[in-house]
């Protein structure tokens, strides 16, 4: 059993107006040293795969087909084996 932790974020070239609004709110809270905010999505996916390689292949396919839109988003992930329960 493997746990994949997946982060999907906008490409740097994409303007993210939500993140801009969040940054402005931080400035209103007087966190003046905040210079940039990026917002993304985080997924925890448990996969019952035979090997770590196999789990990674599935996660990559899931990201390409569903979780990320390649026009504007990129993703990164880590896969770790879960201790047997």
């Amino acid at each position: 059993m493997f746990l994949a932790q997946v982060h999907v974020t906008y490409k740097p070239s994409i303007l993210d107006p939500q993140a801009v609004a969040i940054k402005n709110a931080m400035h209103r809270l007087d966190f003046d040293q905040v210079t940039a905010v990026r917002q993304g999505k985080y997924f925890e996916i448990t996969v019952d795969a035979p090997t770590s390689d196999d789990a990674e292949k599935q996660i990559e396919a899931i990201c390409d087909q569903l979780l990320a839109n390649p026009n504007m988003e990129t993703y990164r992930y880590e896969v770790k084996e879960l201790a047997n329960q």
Binding site: L15, A21, K41, L66, N71
Partner: protein, 223 residues
């Protein structure tokens, strides 16, 4: 002429489209569920606005896997007309039938306004009843209508006359003021404005009816 209106869980402009076709264009329309697998009996497929699957993940991201989408793709590949409006446009980009993506509006607000547009290409099966550069007004109603594509895709869209409609006063940050585009073959159109909300004078205008009349004219030429 037979129009199919595909209804996904969360679609909310399906009945508006149905009545635009039946009451105002006086043609045949059927609302078909997202589970339909055969659309070959129809002449046009309409993908309505709304919030299919609650817009979970991204607008259109879940709808693209609905059972009906294989039939929509086969229909498009056969060269028959597919029109996606608002959430329908988002679904068609997610499904890869149109290039680009619809992002959050630049100013993060949902916009619901009559919007002045320009017809950029009146040589398509969706726009032949308009004149090139004709100024029209259609309502928009979206939070994620900010069309984005990379520069190479934009150059292709321009070269191949795929930009069908532009905004006169860009309301949402769309690249190149784009409000609606076709695929390269010209038989798939996605647009954020709602033609089905401008088919009777009581709605404030009838410019939208010309989109459906264009489809009817194109159909009559082929039969």
């Amino acid at each position: 002429m037979k129009f199919a209106v595909v209804s996904f869980p969360g679609s909310n402009c399906d009945e508006d489209l149905y009545y635009a076709i039946t009451d105002d264009l006086h043609e045949d329309a059927t609302i078909v569920p997202h589970t339909t697998t055969d659309l070959t009996e129809f002449d046009v497929i309409l993908i309505p606005g709304g919030f299919s699957y609650g817009d979970y993940l991204r607008g259109g991201a879940i709808a693209k896997f609905a059972p009906v989408m294989a039939a929509v793709k086969a229909f498009a590949q056969a060269g028959k007309p597919v029109l996606g409006i608002c959430n329908g446009f988002q679904i068609l980009t997610e499904a890869g039938l149109l290039p680009g993506t619809l992002q959050h509006n630049r100013q993060m607000r949902f916009i619901c306004e009559p919007e002045p547009l320009l017809v950029e290409n009146s040589q398509t099966m969706f726009t032949a009843a308009f004149q090139d550069q004709q100024q029209i007004t259609l309502p928009i109603a979206h939070g994620e209508g900010n069309y984005y594509c990379d520069d190479a895709t934009l150059a292709k869209l321009r070269d191949r006359h795929q930009i069908a409609f532009t905004y006169q006063h860009n309301p949402n940050g769309s690249v190149s003021d784009i409000a609606g585009i076709t695929n390269e073959a010209g038989n798939v159109l996605g647009m954020m404005p709602h033609p089905e909300r401008a088919v009777e004078a009581i709605q404030g205008g009838t410019d939208g009816l010309l989109v459906f009349k264009s489809l009817l004219q194109a159909h009559l030429r082929t039969v």
